[in-house]
Amino acid sequence: MTRSGDQVRPAEREPTPAAPLEPDSARSSTSASSYHSQPILKAPVWKRTIAIYFFVGGLAGASAAYAFAALLRGEREAARRATWTALISAAISAPLLIADLGRPSRFLNMLRVFKVLSPMSVGTWILSGFGASIGVAALCDLFGVLPRVRLLAQAGAAALGLPLATYTAALLADTAVPVWHEGRRELPFVFAGGAAASAGGAALILGSDHDGLARRVALGGAAIELIADQLYERRLDPVVAEALSVPAVHRLHLGARLSSTAGTALLLLTGRERRAQIVAGGSLLLAGALLTRLAVFEAGRVSALDPQATVAPQRARVDARSREIAGV
């Protein structure tokens, strides 16, 4: 039910309260499956900045990995650009996260503890470590000093970059929101794929792909993202999956798949010299990855507010269990 903090005076309020009203008497004597059609769960308090962070974080993590790979292959220019992509993305991430806190001034409290039970806690430490290493790497690169340290830093960033790209999926999965929790097995792969696609895409846009590494990463990532996403939707309980089919979410989701697919196609079909198409393809992959995160994020709000998404699967479990007991 909607509650407004301001004091609304009856006379000023217009006819019916926000929630659709239905007299109890209208309900049949057989028990209803909800309480006045109200949600059971609370909608997530997170704003879209979080979804954007998921994207940016993924971009940062995968870029760092890509940068390390490029470095090992001696692609210094590609490595540099990817490193800076990662650094900038990481830099953007912090404010995106802090902006979403109820008490931004207390963001440091995140570092009070380390809780393996809390993906957000783990993620905070990953992000911190990642930020530190990628920062060192970038500085060394900037002043062209301490090559060993840089290599080490690049390696560290790459190592932390991988979980940085996927822990965000664990963060969503580790909630009571059905459409997120039920996707705990697939979402990390969706996010991993998206991260790779975005890192590759970014590299392609920056035109640092002289040896096809970025192209392969981008295409591979997009493929993983698209396949994992299909699996995710398929495996969901149909009642839970409804959250993905409400118009607002569906539009985002469809847009995500189209752009990823289009981007992939474009890159596959066009040769390396066709700069414009490559930029377009890379951009489409980035867009796809971003839209996917937004779609999943929005689906969570819808799913939390739908009492049936919570009740139906649980009721099924209970009934099944009682059937077992009854030995039927």
Partner: protein, 205 residues
């Protein structure tokens, strides 16, 4: 926590950081409560929490002012301010329990709509005006004497013969039923002595 949310205050951040370092729970976690769900992560102020009932400097036995069940109340106050009102377990009537109204009786005393000053509205006036309390009482006394004189009845006609009544029907009072017995007694005593007849109460309504 008085710090205003949303606004980003660098100083606070530094303070927070310093505080965090001095008693860094993560170090505690290494020793015990590794999962960080209890002992290790408790803050000093949380450990120091105390109920208002024990910080009150005075506890007064009272009775709920709402319905006539007469539930016992314990009024906790500190520095002349009521800090908590809850049921009196010793009461054989209520056994320490209260209904929502009884439970809200602290707010009955402290709610923002409560009036603390005399307000005066002159005839034909469109706004309240201020008035000192003693002046108000004095003015009311004058009004009573005037209206009483205007409407005084020494006798009424009883089928030709005059019947003494010594009264005024020109002044009346209507009291609520949350008045104390002592208050009702003085109301009836004074107003009857004034000659007022229409002294009434919610008890009839």
């Amino acid at each position: 926590m008085p710090d205003s949310p949303r606004r980003f205050r660098p100083l606070r951040v530094i303070d927070a950081a310093a505080a965090a370092l001095t008693s860094w729970p993560i170090l505690q976690q290494l020793r015990h409560d590794h999962l960080g769900r209890g002992e290790a992560v408790r803050s000093r102020s949380f450990d120091a929490i105390e109920p208002r009932t024990s910080t009150a400097d005075k506890v007064t036995q009272s009775i709920c002012p709402y319905c006539a069940v007469g539930c016992g109340q314990l009024v906790y106050s500190r520095d002349g301010e009521v800090t908590q009102i809850e049921g009196d377990p010793a009461s054989p009537i209520s056994r320490g329990r209260l209904c929502p109204k009884g439970a809200a009786s602290r707010q009955l005393l402290t709610n923002e709509r409560r009036e603390y000053q005399v307000k005066y509205r002159r005839p034909g006036g469109t706004e309240w005006e201020e008035l000192p309390l003693d002046r108000a009482v004095d003015m009311i006394a004058d009004r009573m004497i005037k209206s009483r004189a205007e409407t005084w009845e020494a006798t009424v006609d009883g089928d030709g013969e005059p019947l003494p009544v010594n009264r005024t029907l020109g002044i009346g009072s209507l009291g609520g039923a949350t008045l104390d017995n002592e208050e009702n007694y003085l109301i009836k005593k004074l107003f009857t002595a004034v000659g007022m007849i229409s002294v009434e109460n919610q008890a009839r309504i």
